[in-house]
Each structure stands twice: as C-alpha cells, then as structure tokens.
Amino acid sequence: MAVEAPAKPTLADKIYDKMFHNYVWKSIFRTGYPNTPRNQMLVVATNVFLHLHPTRIHRTHVKVTHTYCLGGLSFFMFLGLTVTGILLMFYYVPSVERAYLDMQNITTTVQFGQLMRNMHRWMAHAMVILVFLHMMRVFYTGAYKPPREFNWVVGVILLVLTFLLSFTGYLLPWDQLAFWAITVGSNIAGSAPVLGPKTRFWMLGGFEVGPESLIRFYTLHVIGLPLLAAIFMAVHFWRIRRDGGLARPL
C-alpha cells in the first residue's frame, strides 16, 4: 500500500516555521494563534491586557452600532495622549522662560515634534468629544439604570476629569491663546460665591496667571489628574464587569 508522501515544505513554510516556532518566540507567546473556542477564551482570561473583557459577550453587544466603541475609544485616546504626552515631556520645561521656546523647538527642530504635538492636541479634542458622545450613548440606551447607577456617577466624574485634563493642558504652550484662555477660565472659577477668589488663588498660585500657575497646571496635567482619572477608570471598567457587562433588554 502506497502511502501518499507529505507535501514538501515550501520556502514560505520554512520561514514561517523559523519565525514562529523558535525558542525565543515561544517564550513570549506560549501558544500559537488560538483557533479553538477554549483557547480563545483562555487568551482573553489570561492575557494581562485583554482580561478586562469577559471571555464571552452577548451577541448584540458586538454590533458596532450598539456602542460605536465610544467608551473604548475614549480610553484609547487616553492611552494615545499618554504616549504622545510622554514624548512631548522629553522636550518641554514648564518654566515661563523656557516653555514657549521649547514649544517652538518642538514644532521646528525636533524630529516629528510637530506631528507629536498635533497628535496630542487633536486627540485631546477627540477625547472630550468622544467622552460626551459616550455619555449620550449610555443615556439613550438607558444603560445608567439599575444595577449601573453608581457607574453612571463615576462616568460623570470622569467627564469632569476629562475637562480638567484638557483645561490644564491648555496653558502649557504658554502662548497668547493659552494665557488668555486660562485667564478667562480661571476668572470663571474665581467668580464663585464666597470661595471663588480663594479657589482662583489656589488654582493659579497667585493673583494672575504666572510662573506658579504654569508649574501647577503642568504637575496636575502630567501626573495628578491622569492618576486620578486612571483610578476612576479602573473603577469604571471594573464596575462594568461587576454589573453584568453592557446593559441589554430585560
């Protein structure tokens, strides 16, 4: 009985084999592409980045038109802003003497500096819009209803944090646009009854926008508010899972 000889491995097969079946690769990715349902669930459950997800999800929730990915994209903007923000931090010193010069440097002499700055700016605008649209999506799908009441509150806090993150970043270029926008913005805060002037003073570190304001806004922008937002985001995502995933009709 003749047994059919196995086809000879092609060059592509050999390259594939060398690339993905070697010792180093397997030390990083222990298994190949997960092509059985069991492995696909394991991938989600055991991967540090994917385990925020459940392993299975109701089929209506993978329809793009159900969420338009708005919440996920808001988070993605946060991640992108972190990456571009860190790159900008390499070149930016938050002092009145240097801030504007550094901005000019970033936009003229730093490789891809202008691109990074543009990305950071447009992503920030996109994040504000996406967070607002996400709120509208949650409202119109009634997803704040029990048992998700508290997660809606966390969401409102995250909306405010998003505004604050964007607002504190607005001063950093130290150009006329930044300076006067923050002057107007902090005057609004200063108009609060009783506590207004004090609040404004604490916010700016003085009576008007100056060096102290710049370092305050910078510190809040790059570490204080992102940390706070990350904590609330962690609660937000955790609660989605705890409350049974996305809302669906009864």
Partner: protein, 294 residues
Amino acid sequence: MATTVVARPVARPQARARDEEVLVWPDLVFIEFIAAMLFTITLFFLSVVMNAPLLDQANADVTPNPSKAPWYLLNLQELLLHMNAAMAGIIIPTIWLVILGAFPYFDRDNEGQGVYFGTEGAVKITIIASAIGFFGTWLLILWDSGKIAFFLNDWFQLSGGDSLRFLENARSMQSQLPWPDWSREITYLPFNLRILDGTGSGGPTTFQHLDFPGWLVEQAIPIAFIVGLPSLLIYGMWRMGLVVTRRDALLALFGGFVASYGVLTLTGTAFRGQGQELVFPWELKVSEGIPGQE
C-alpha cells in the same frame, strides 16, 4: 392573609444567556482593533495636514479681543454674558452636574435599557425637546443681545418707542425702567457682613444691600428661565400625554440640555466676535491686541 409586600426591584446583574453569547476573541477584540486603527490613522492624517495653533508668546499686557476660554468652556462663557458671573460660571454647571449624576437615582425603572430609545415615545420626546432647546436657546440669545428688537425695527419698521424699550433685552429692564432710587439699594442686613475678605479680583464679598433691578436682571430672570423653561417643557409634554414615566421626563430634560448646550458652545465659539458681539462666523475677527493695530 398578610399584607402584600411590594418589593423594590433589587439591582442585580442579569442572568447570562449563554447560548446568545459570542467569544470576545475574536469577535470583540477584532472590532476594537479596527476602531483603534481607524482613529489612529484619521488623527495621524489630521495631524499631518493641520497644525495645532501656536500664537505669540504669552503677554499679560496684550489682551486679544475677544479673549476666549477653551472651546468646551465657551458654553459657560456664553452664559456669562447673560447673567451673574457666579451663577453662569459655577452655580449652574455645578448644580447641573449634580442633577446629571443623580439621573439613575431619579429614574430607577429597569424598562427600556440596552436598546436605543427603548421606551414608548422616546424618539418623539427627544426630537421635540431637542428642537425646543435648540430654537429656544437661539431665541433667548438673540433677544438678550438686542437682535430681535433690531430686526423688528430694521425689517418691519416696528418700534416700541421709549415706553417699550425695557423689553429690548434683559439688561434694559434694569436701565430703561423708572426704578426708584431706594430700590437700587435695599438694606436687608443692619450690619456689614463680610465673608472671606477677598483676595485678588473678587474684592471683599459684602452682603448687606440688594440692588433690586440688578438682582432681577442678573439672577432672578436667568434663574426663572433656566429652571422655568425646562420645567414648563416637561409639564407641557406631560399634559399632552407625551411624558408619562420618569424616564420620559429625563429624556425631555436631557434632549433639551444637549441641544441648548450645543447651541451655547457653538455661539460662544463661532458667533462671538470682538467685544463678545454677536456676529456671523465669517465676520469673526480676532484683534491680537497689539497697540495701534485693529
């Protein structure tokens, strides 16, 4: 028989319907990846073709006209033109955020979740409330900037004369009515009460006299509008039988909010020129504030 116990529905996660579920990998992860890529690529190309603005170095002595807050605060800056600064900038947004956060504690019904506009009449309520919010806000802005009186006069030669002048906008109720002198300084505290001696621009906060016309124009009328008009909207829709449940009331409130928030942001961004004058977007010019140069 014991009395019937009506249990409040307990908030519990819904039971899972296993046979209706799909795997997160690949079904969801794939979609998330595509969405992230789409946004990365779009924003990348946007960043290639459009530079973030960088004006001259900050200069406290040179004030651009108009000076504007970041765009997402321009709704508040727009409100600021029409009323007391503390109310527009702090009190109204704070109260609104609290109301917004309290939505789920007001509407505790489980009905209509998980699908867009899941309750009966939801789309209708949203459309009506948004339309009223949209046009109502525009009308109020036009009225308070005196444009309505201007158009009536300019297009139809209608003029109320001096006797009706106080209806031109909110501010003219303060300036065009014959208020007696005493009404501009009504003493309501027999002593001078100072709360937190002011630091900086605020000045000392004293609570002693009431400037009635000023109070009417800056606080009473705006509050009446901001509280009254949405209440009236919900009440009217309730009388018409459109708003029945608490969810319906929230739909009307939220729809109206989104519309007027949008109009306020848009007006503040694109329709406010020098001196915060109401202009068309194509007439909008910013003077850099350089002395001797318009």
